[in-house]
């Protein structure tokens, strides 16, 4: 089954000087699929800045490596499993977790944390059929991630969930993993002639054949046979066995098996070690008899790793594998040259340069800007205190804003005893590291804004993810990205992709942040059309001292400050979405200078110990930010909205605009904080009110309102629990 285009077939024939065999075509078309080859995106994403003093260059292939001091390195990687999760949410999401864990393991690092970013159709919308399917997807995706992550003992420490009508009968499941290692233990992927190639772990079966080709076209029908079957127990054994083997120095080179199975793994590792490989497929341990060589080499069966070891260390390796009862087969050896030689029962059935297999001819896709989707106008909205009160509770109850407790309580987020800030407590998750420092990590996305304006939408995500790191006290170190779009063959979609890439380059160059890992996923479409553009951005940051760890939790009798200006930027806002105005308004624009100035100011305040609590102001706007801080701290607020620096044309815009680069903080050292902020030229900030602990009511005052908007702790909390309420109302879908 060849998936090659006419042009690619011609290119291959020319390179070979002959007609390729059916087997060769199978191998090449797996590797040349969009999923494995990045043929549409490679030229563009090569331009991402990728250097900084923390990045360890030239080592990582599967995941990036960062030097975090005292001999420790961090590995980070992101993957998605969108197509499989949309047809088989349990298996699809679980194997997504397994895949990203093995990417970290390939480097010789111990996985210490998982995060996920999920996108679904609204759970409770007018279209009952789509909502029901969405609840089914959410339930099973959550269970899939939980059952896998919990079993392997890697905590799922954080994530991000978005519900939008752009995801009918579909979902996006992104999983990121972080690993830690001592620098000297990292696998360098150096191998010598006659080294032995082991295939370790799960047996190879007919599951997931053509999975990467499946993921490289639109979803049509429900091709469940292309979805792999998860076995977290084997993965757990694989993790422990591989790390023990790394520790004993018996791994020369290593690679996980993912999309494209052995065909991609063998060709890519052969290129990485700059040597040839000779492998006999008949030696692979299989699940069933009668598998053809093509089926064996293309199978995407899970929980498998390729380990290359020396002749002398072979016995140590197999001893460790036996200790863990792991199956393995000695499938071949490293040879002179740079060819991948595939045999079956002794007969050579393929002998091609690895480079030819690995490097698909790249494609320049057309781009055409679409007509503007968003109408840049402001909408009239009644603004009596009671209207504003209702709107605030409605936005709080929107599952995009509401607590994700129903999801994260199903994930073991504490195993490893290093989770300092857990899901639901702060703007990013914070982990204790072996070197005495703390790691802040977060994923973010916003398909609503990106759909209206992919450039500024992507900018907003970048700004938000960095603010989330800063709001827990971290200094952003690096960015990872996952760009999820529809078909790149559609010139409008490819235009949007390019805009998103341009935003990442511009933001990261300005902020001097390296992009240390990424992934592109195209063809996210079903019979109803493409998804909204959904880049997901992750960031990690370091916090040097535990005193600098910040939480969004109002204490009592503290002064409340806002940093940053609020503008009429309602495009893609949760307020417009909740009140039926989606598609209107201007997508917020990140002013890079403001963004950096505000970030630096906040980090300085933290280090000078003048901040009691801190929260980034983003999805849902100012009103939601205040409510969250009140709820988490169990204290109330009195805020004078007139004091907020703004250029808004209405009170609701002031309350709900999602203008980036803003922070809300509380302090009991208002004088010092005032002095420090006043000294920064160009910084917009103001003291806007006080926190209180008397009674249970919070107040928002405005000169144009004849009475304040009054919110009680109970109203806020009840609305905020809405996601769980929806999911428990219909326990089975």
């Amino acid at each position: 089954m060849s998936e090659l285009t006419a042009g690619e077939t011609k290119y291959l024939r020319k390179k070979l000087g002959r007609k390729p065999s059916a087997f060769e075509l199978d191998v090449v078309s797996a590797e040349w699929s969009e999923h494995c080859s990045y043929k549409s995106s490679k030229k563009l994403i090569r331009k991402f800045p990728n250097r900084s003093k923390f990045v360890i260059p030239g080592l990582a292939s599967d995941a990036a490596l960062l030097d975090i001091g005292l001999g420790y390195v961090l590995a980070i990687h992101i993957e998605s499993h969108n197509h499989p999760s949309a047809v088989e949410p349990y298996g699809g999401s679980a194997t997504g977790v397994g895949g990203v864990i093995r990417d970290i393991l390939s480097l010789g690092a111990r996985p210490i944390a998982l995060l996920n970013a999920l996108r679904f159709y609204p759970l409770d919308n007018a279209n009952k059929r789509y909502s029901q399917s969405s609840r089914w997807l959410l339930r099973n995706v959550t269970k899939g991630i939980a059952d896998y992550g919990n079993c392997i003992g890697v905590p799922t420490v954080g994530g991000e969930v978005e519900f939008d009508r752009g995801f009918s009968n579909y979902c996006l499941v992104d999983v990121a993993a972080i690993g830690i290692s001592k620098r000297e233990k990292i696998i360098r992927n150096r191998s010598n002639k006659r080294d032995i190639v082991f295939l370790v772990g799960g047996a190879t079966g007919r599951d997931g054949i053509h999975g990467s080709s499946f993921a490289s076209k639109k979803l049509s029908g429900e091709d469940r046979s292309a979805v792999q079957i998860p076995d977290p127990f084997t993965e757990k054994l694989l993790i422990e066995a591989v790390l023990e083997a790394v520790d004993r120095g018996c791994v020369n080179a290593m690679k996980d098996l993912g999309g494209g199975g052995l065909s991609c793994c063998l060709s890519e590792i052969s290129e990485t070690i700059s040597k040839g490989l000779e492998v006999d497929l008949s030696k692979v341990h299989v699940k069933e008899d009668g598998m053809s060589p093509s089926e064996i080499i293309l199978s995407e069966s899970q929980e498998r790793m390729l380990v290359i070891t020396s002749q002398t260390n072979q016995a140590y390796l197999t001893e460790i594998l036996s200790k863990y009862n792991l199956s393995y087969s000695n499938i071949g050896s490293v040879i002179e040259g740079k060819n991948l030689v595939i045999k079956y029962a002794g007969d050579v059935i393929m002998n091609l340069p690895s480079e030819l297999i690995c490097r698909a001819p790249l494609i320049d896709r057309d781009t055409i800007p679409p007509e503007s989707k968003s109408e840049d106008r402001n909408l009239y909205f009644r603004e009596r205190p009671s209207d504003l009160y209702k709107s605030i509770l409605k936005v709080l109850a929107n599952p995009n804003i509401a607590s994700k407790k129903w999801i994260y309580e199903q994930f073991d987020h504490e195993v490893g005893i290093r989770t300092v800030l857990k899901p639901g407590t702060a703007d990013s998750s914070v982990l204790r590291l072996e070197n005495g420092k703390y790691l802040a990590v977060k994923l973010d996305g916003n398909s609503k804004q990106c759909d209206l304006d992919p450039y500024h939408g992507t900018m907003c995500i970048l700004s938000e993810v960095c603010r989330n790191i800063i709001s827990t006290g971290g200094k952003p170190l690096a960015i990872i990205d996952h760009l999820q779009f529809g078909s790149p063959e559609n010139a409008h979609i490819f235009w949007a992709f390019k805009q998103s890439v341009r935003a990442i380059i511009n933001y990261c160059e300005f902020m001097r942040l390296p992009v240390v890992g990424g992934k592109v996923s195209f063809y996210n479409e079903n019979n109803l059309g493409p998804i909204k553009h959904s880049p997901v951005i992750g960031s990690i940051g370091l916090i040097d001292r535990s005193e600098w760890i910040m939480m969004p939790r109002f204490g009592s009798e503290e002064s409340i400050f806002i940093i940053g200006n609020t503008k009429d930027e309602m495009g893609g806002s949760e307020f417009y979405e909740t009140t039926g105005r989606a598609g209107n308004g201007k997508v917020p624009i990140v002013d890079l200078n403001d963004d950096m100035r505000n970030a630096k100011a906040v980090l300085r305040l933290i280090r000078e110990d003048v901040v009691s609590s801190l929260h980034d102001c983003s999805k849902g706007g100012l009103a939601i930010t205040l409510c969250e801080m009140a709820m988490r701290g169990g204290n109330n607020f009195q805020v004078d909205l007139d004091k907020i620096p703004n250029s808004c044309s209405s009170i609701s815009n002031l309350l709900f605009s999602e203008t980036p680069s803003r922070y809300i903080l509380s302090t009991n050292k208002r004088k010092r904080l005032n002095t420090m902020l006043s000294a920064i030229s160009g910084l917009e900030f103001s003291e806007i009110g006080m926190t209180t602990n008397n009674g249970s009511e919070s107040f928002l005052h405005h000169s144009k309102l004849n009475s304040p908007v009054i919110l009680t702790q109970k109203n806020i909390t009840d609305s905020y629990e809405n996601l769980g309420t929806i999911m428990e109302r219909t326990p089975v879908d």
Partner: protein
Amino acid sequence: MSRVGILVFPGSNCERDVFTVLSKFSGLEPELVWHTKNDLRGYDAFIIPGGFTYGDSLRAGAIAAHSPVIRELKKISEENLPILGICNGFQILVESSLLPGALTVNSSHKFVCKSARLVVKNNSTPFTTMFKKDESISIPVAHGQGRYVIDNRAYRKLERNNQIVIRYAQNDINGSMNNVAAVCNEQGNVMGMMPHPERAVWIQMDQDIRPEGSGVFESLRNHLLWH
């Protein structure tokens, strides 16, 4: 120094956490013991940590409960050595009949990971002497099969013998019979608990979790010191 053996099975995943925590308590010397080891002599106490031994195949703890090392452990339990099972360790202890009752799927049918408020009902076991009777503590839980069930007559016997060591102080954890969170055997030397004390030892940023799990390990240390 008291040697504490931490039994490790394929699929255990809290053994390093327990090891790290125990090594912070002076007087305790933790050691990871791989499940194929058939001689358990020379240890002063054992802990079976949490995890998913054998991937929870059949039932949580069922396969590990039939391994040779548990047969050895049963012999040792008769010598009054303290044995603590945490989470999956508790499941293994009930599956191997070292403790009465059974642990089955949570009534929510979902895995639950959160901080749980608890009440210590028996403070005379080797793992609870540092607590006051009826003391309220918070320790996180993380399990999918933690609902404790037992027949009524056996339950009454547990109550009579003071074998219900810890109860949940809230009803929304897993649907355990009368909120049972930890039980011990008749002699009191074997205890199983669903909450993870090793996860509540360091002060976390989260105010909901105080270092109240330490009491379990401090109690064990004191017990080993004086016995």
